[in-house]
Amino acid sequence: MAAPEPTPPPSVAAIFAGFFSVGIIGFGGVLPITRRMIVEQRKWMSGKDFTDILGLCQFLPGGNVINLAAAVGQRFRGIPGALAGLAGLMCAPMAIVIILGLLYSHFQDEPAVRRAFAGLAAAASGLIITMALKIAVPIRRDLPAVAVAVLTFAAIAWLRLPLLTTMAIMAPLGIAIAWRRAR
């Protein structure tokens, strides 16, 4: 198969527009949509390059897609590109969620709204349980990993320790276990 024609790097405006399209349609899982936009629709980079840059965004703290908007924007157009990616990604969802928030605080005492939100919150917590299980299930047979996960869980959910303290203890412990295993 012939190599695809090299496409010129996207302009700052195109970076804004690309991430804007992701922000406005991305419900419950923006990552697959971002990949489709960058690799398949706009052909800014190959699937391999995308996976590579995503690896950095998942390695570092922060929202993965937010980091990705900054990294992809920077790769093509430096700091203006990164700002365009972040602004494009965030502006529409921010506006929508602020409008929803204002509506909610205005109507939250209506009995029907209260009941709707009780149901909505219960459903949303079901979804986060699913996300947690999808991360936890693959490590269930790995005893040291399970121990680290259980200790972290207990520190946060039961002892209610601050996250900074918990991370300062558990992250080195997890890494030490992974390091011993790699040797």
Partner: protein
Amino acid sequence: MNNLIDLALLYGQLSLLAFGGGNTVLPEMQRQVVEHGWMTAAEFAALFALAQAAPGPNMLVSALVGLRVAGLPGAIIATLGMITPSSVLTMLCLHAWDRFRDAPWRKIVQAGIVPVTAGLFLAAALLIAQAADRSIPLALLTVAFAGLSFATKLHPLWLLAAGAGLGVIGAV
């Protein structure tokens, strides 16, 4: 003004602690907003649910917390606090990534963090569910929807809509 500084400090810290994505810092967010006296855990769970029902990245609950605490400036400060530190870090590391991407220590660090992330995610799930499920029917709805979304590829929006609908008609 003090609230804006508190919001910036809280979300700036959470941004750099969010290993494995935004949801891992939900317990800390909930703990701190309750400690500050900004809202109850149940109110936080409602804002989290509202953010899930909006499009975009799942960090938008920070905007809703900021909005509740300090109006529109609060929403903007909290969101900037959540995205700026991690984005700057990502941009600083972008060039170095080519060098350390394949380094053994990089893979070890990443593998070592996974169980911590799993523990944080499970804690987030439990604490959010505890705050949201004020009755037995609501708890049953959470468990049923967790099973449904785990076992099927049903779009999350359908489940959120169904939850809100069941709530309105008084079924839960």
